[in-house]
Structures are given as C-alpha cells and as structure tokens.
Symmetry: C2
Subunit: 340 residues, 2 copies
DNA sequence: TATTTTTATGCAAACGTTATCGGGAACGTT
DNA sequence: AACGTTCCCGATAACGTTTGCATAAAAATA
C-alpha cells in the first residue's frame, strides 16, 4: 500500500510541498511548466491525497454514521440501500452500526460516533430506548442528525417517517370492512414512535366503526418466536378471541402465520392477518399476505439527502428549520385478509 | 461538537501536551498527582482522543471496508451482520459499499478503498466482474483482503465460501431421488465462483445417476423478473421440458415460483423446485421451499475474524499462508420438491 | 538605471496526537 | 563537594496536507 505522498513528489522534483500542493490543486500562481511536471509525476506514481490528513486539517471526515436496530432486517437493509445510494453520489462514506434493539448498545454506538468525528448521523431508535438524552446532547453539541422511522419527539431535527397512523388506520378499516369485529394488534416495543402511531391509527379505526377497544387485544412483542407463541396463546384463550390481527411488521406477521398454522387455525377464514412493510416474499406466502407498504428505499434516500444538506449547510451557518417528512403508505390487499 | 483536545488540557493545567498525553495513557513516568489532575480534568470536560489524528499518526484507521453486490439482499445483510458483530467486538468500524453487480461500480469502490486507507477489505465480487486485476494489485500493494462467497482463484488470500459443490450436488441428488429426471438449473452470472461450483455439483449429480446433461437446461439469469419470465418460457417450450428446477438462490426461486404460478403449473407435481440460502420466509411460502442452507452469519463472522487477524498480524510481519474456508451447507426438504 | 510590480516559489504554522530525546531538580552515594 | 541516579516533565519532530506570509528573481515601469 506504499502510497506516495506530496512530500515524495516534492523531494523527487526538488520542489517544496507547498508548490506541489498548489500545483495539484491547480492554483493559478504556479508556473505552467512546473504544474505540468508535478501533475505528470503524480499521475505516473498514482498519487492520491491522504483523506485522513485532509480530515484532520478540515475537521471533517466525509463519512456519515448510520445506527439501525438490525441490519439483517429487510426493512432496514432497504433503507440503508437508499442511504448508500445518495451518500455515494455525494462523495460520502457510510459507516454502519447496529443497536440490536438494545439501549446500552445504542448508547455505546453513540459514544463511538461522538468521538469518531463522523460528519453526521442517521438513526432509527432501538426498541429498548426510552431515554434519548444522550442523542439530544450530541445534537445540541452540533452533530447533524436525522431520525428515521423510529423517531423521538424530544429531539428537534429533521425526521423521516412513514405515515404510520394512516397505514394502521387503513389496514384496520380494511379488516373491519371485511367483516371483522374483534381485531387484535400485535406490535413492537411500546417506547417506539412507530408503535404509538400505529396503535393510534388502529384505535381510531375501531372508534370510527364504534367497535370497543380492548386493551387485551393489544400485544407488545419482541421478535422471538417463543414470544409470539405466548402472545397467540393469550389471544386465543380469551373468552372472545380475535378474528383479525394487525401486526406491526411483516416479520411479526410471518411468525404469526407460522404459529397459527401449527394450531390448525385457518387464515383468513378464522383469523385474518395484515402486516406492515411488504417484504419481497409477502406475495408468495401461504396465504399471500395483505400488508401496508412502507417506502423503505425512499426513506433512506430522503434521510440521507436531508442529512447531507444539513452537514453542508452547517459551515455556512444558515439557520435551519427542522421538518418531519411523512412518506405515504399503501395497503396491498391479498389473501390473508379476504375470505372467499 | 466543540470537543476538547489535549492542547486545551495542557493549557488549562499549565502543562505540556506531552505530559498530558502521557498522563492520559497512564505512563509510569508521571507524577501521580499530575496524572490524577489531568485525568480528572479530562473526565470533567469529556475529553476524547481524536481518532483521525491517531489514524494519521499510526497510519491506520481502525475501520474495514466491505463491498457487497447488494446490501438489500438477505444473504448479504446477514453476512454483514456477522461482520459487524466481530468488528464491533474488536474495535473496528465497518464502511459499506455496494457494487450493484456492476464491474464499473466495483472498480470505483476499489479506488475509494485504496485511497481511503481503510485497514482491510472484505469483498464478494460483482456478477459482471471477470477481471480482478485491480483487486489483485491492491492486494499486492499490501492491503489485507478476504474474499467471501463470490471469490476468485486469481487472488491468493484468505477466502470463505459455502460448500457450493456439495450443496448443489445434494440438492440435485435429492431431486433425482424424488423421481425427477429432467432437471434444469437456473443460476447467476457465469463469471461467479458460486455459479461455476454449483453448476459442477449439479452436473456431478446428474452424472452419478447417468442422466444426460443438457446445456439448454442451464440458464444464466440476472435478478430481474422479466428475465425470469423469459427463461421459464424457454425451458417450457423445450420439446422435453423440465420436471425439476434447481435455482442458485432463494430469490431466484421466488421469482421462479411466481412465474410458474401465473402459468398455472403445479409445484411440486409438475415441476419441483429447490433454492439456495434459506430465507426467513422460505418455510412459509406456497409451497414451502426446499432449499440449501448457507451459513451466512458465520460466513461474515469468519471473514471478519480472518481479516482482522491479517490486519493485526501485518505489523508483526509474520508470513501468512492463506487458506480457503469452506462452510457446510445443509439441505432442508420442504414441500416444493416432495410430491405427495 | 533605479524603482516598482509581477511571478513563482519556499517557509512555517496548523490540524491532534505520540515518541524520542534531553534536561532540571532532588536525592543518594562516595 | 562532586558525581551518579531517579523522577518528572518539556521541547521537538513526525504523520500528510493546506495556506498565509515572505522573498528571490524576473519583468515592467519610471
């Protein structure tokens, strides 16, 4: 990796490093002959400026940090795809961190980010997180941050989310119109914004059709399969068990399907199911899964754009008013929620 | 982000930067009182060493680059999950790049990597790539590199792969034992090592059972759905159409299933299907997909371990003999390949 | 020719850190 | 009293780069 430096060029050509630097940057105040000489030498020996030295000098790294709960979750990997696409085009590198839904792990990641002098941060909060003070502090110290998907009210910065309320509302309404009256909602960590917003949408739909809301029908799950087994058992042992289930994600819907299958419950006849996200495989499932599409790629792209704008605006210190961008969701109706 | 530096501490405490540095690093040759003073001050003002300055000084970045074809591909996101886990534990950061199966894009990424002074590189080759000279050059210049999944013979370094031959052989044999005699193989880019190895396994199984190999039954696909439509049409219009299909990935199997469904072909009765990877959803598909499990997480972990060992050994310049690690695959038999 | 202007280059500082070297002060040893 | 140790600490250089300032030489002007 013996890469050549500006010093090497200077020595070889009997020039000073300043001259070489200026020649390379195309400064006007340099003799065209010298300039040519330097540039040719640099080409020949494949000179590449040391980005670390530049980072040190300019106090920026041209890289952004991304913290997601799990990279191995199709939703997030699609978001990252969008982030990478934009960052690549604008000359930034993407450094990946996972919180694994753990507050502690997220906290450690934030510490790394803080000291690593990454130029900005994109984050979707961990399920365990209900204290964002560290993130807030980081933001107040001047780190450009954009929150996506799982956001927090306590931090005043750009946010990019799906229209979770609308998505859950439409999905629930769909179940109701299909004749369901006892609809359960299996959701994620109660701390998460997506959870809260979707629960609200779910309740709003029930209210609209004057269906009583039963707290016992709202279940908070993590992603383990034992947990899903437990939840389903609880729901089924109700005196009035559900005839429809809205899950907070396709991944949960998948577990839900699997568990119900082992219990010989027919879908959608006995229980209808609607998911969230629209996994690639959703249409090929048995039965094909009705789901609320989330525009994950766009979420990543938009988030990255906002963050990079923030980073590049920071220097010119134009005051920014922060906004929350809500992306449209769409209900795709398939077999899992339509009888007959 | 106004982070404090060693200079600030020195100034505030009327010490030299050297003393502060030594105190912070716990050097013995420092007065315990002074040391305590410095450390307390550093704590109080939340001093964090500037990693960029350290990188410049030590000429290493404590970060590794990862180039994958698509991050939004469950196999690769699982691999990255493994990579991140190990890197995190060993104090390295992961910088992500995508080639999108494009040679040109991969090449540009390699250029970035080369000049970015990442400490090492993990790469799985793009489908288009059949010239690895740039990668080779990078390796010869001293960059520690580990190849995974899609590797190349031309580069002498550590490699981590699945036992593709064995996986394809077992899968094909399974189809044969289930009574199939006309087995097609839909695979990926012919340049890829995984393609070549799996084709070999497929052919070896056919040979073992003295089934003639028909080139027309081997189809090279990209991941677009139109392409799949075309391929299926070609296969079906054969005078002797296939009764079984082995695909190079579950993603292709998914497309395959979808296309066959639209053509009202029953699976597994008319055509059996076997995939590769074992997506989370594979067991929930209609029909449930028989597939060869690839240990993606372990692949990522092992690759990262090897790379980090390589990086850390580099300094002590112990000569390394490179190895290729073959991870076991396993056939999971489900409905898509078993009649009755 | 003497002076000013222009042109082209070098010097040194700076970014934050650590390592090498050296040195003053205090102490102990002859 | 002279010398050697030990203990702390500071000055400096170095990593690779850019940049403000200085300056020599050349050119232009008077």
């Amino acid at each position: 990796m013996e890469l050549i430096t500006i010093k090497d060029i200077a020595k070889a050509l009997n020039l000073s490093t300043s001259t070489v630097s200026r020649a390379l940057r195309g400064s006007y105040e340099i003799n065209p002959d010298t300039k040519k000489l330097v540039i040719e030498y640099a080409e020949k020996y494949n000179y590449r400026p040391n980005p670390i030295a530049l980072s040190l000098k300019e106090n920026k790294s041209r890289s952004i940090g991304v913290i997601v709960p799990e990279i191995d979750n199709p939703f997030f990997s699609q978001v990252i795809n969008g982030i990478e696409a934009i960052s690549y085009n604008r000359g930034y590198h993407v450094v990946i961190f996972q919180s694994h839904e753990s507050f502690e792990r997220e906290s450690i990641n934030l510490k790394h980010i803080a000291s690593r002098r990454v130029d900005g941060l994109l984050i979707s909060l961990a399920g365990e997180t209900n204290d964002v003070s560290q993130l807030k502090e980081l933001h107040e110290k001047g780190m450009p941050i954009v929150l996506f998907d799982r956001v927090s009210d306590e931090i005043n910065t750009h946010k990019v989310i799906s229209d979770n309320f609308e998505g859950a509302f439409t999905a629930t309404e769909h179940l109701i119109r299909e004749g369901r009256r006892r609809i359960a909602h299996i959701t994620a960590s109660p701390y998460l914004s997506i959870t809260k917003e979707r629960v609200k949408g779910y309740i709003a739909a029930l209210n609209k059709y004057e269906i009583p809301v039963d707290e016992a029908m709202i279940k908070y799950s993590n992603y383990s399969s034992e947990n899903m087994e437990l939840i389903i058992d609880e729901l089924l042992s109700e005196t009035n068990p559900p005839d429809g289930i809205l899950t907070v994600s396709d991944r949960l819907a998948l577990g839900c399907l699997a568990t119900l299958k082992t219990k010989k419950i027919t879908i959608p006849e006995q229980i209808s199911i609607v998911g969230f996200t629209n996994l690639k495989a959703a249409s090929m499932l048995e039965p094909a899964l009705t789901t609320v599409v989330q525009p994950s790629l766009q979420m990543g792209q938009r988030s990255a754009e906002l963050l990079l704008d923030l980073i590049e605006r920071k220097t010119s210190s134009i005051p920014t008013t922060y906004q929350t961008f809500k992306l449209y969701t769409e209900l795709i109706i398939r077999e899992s929620s339509v009888v007959g």
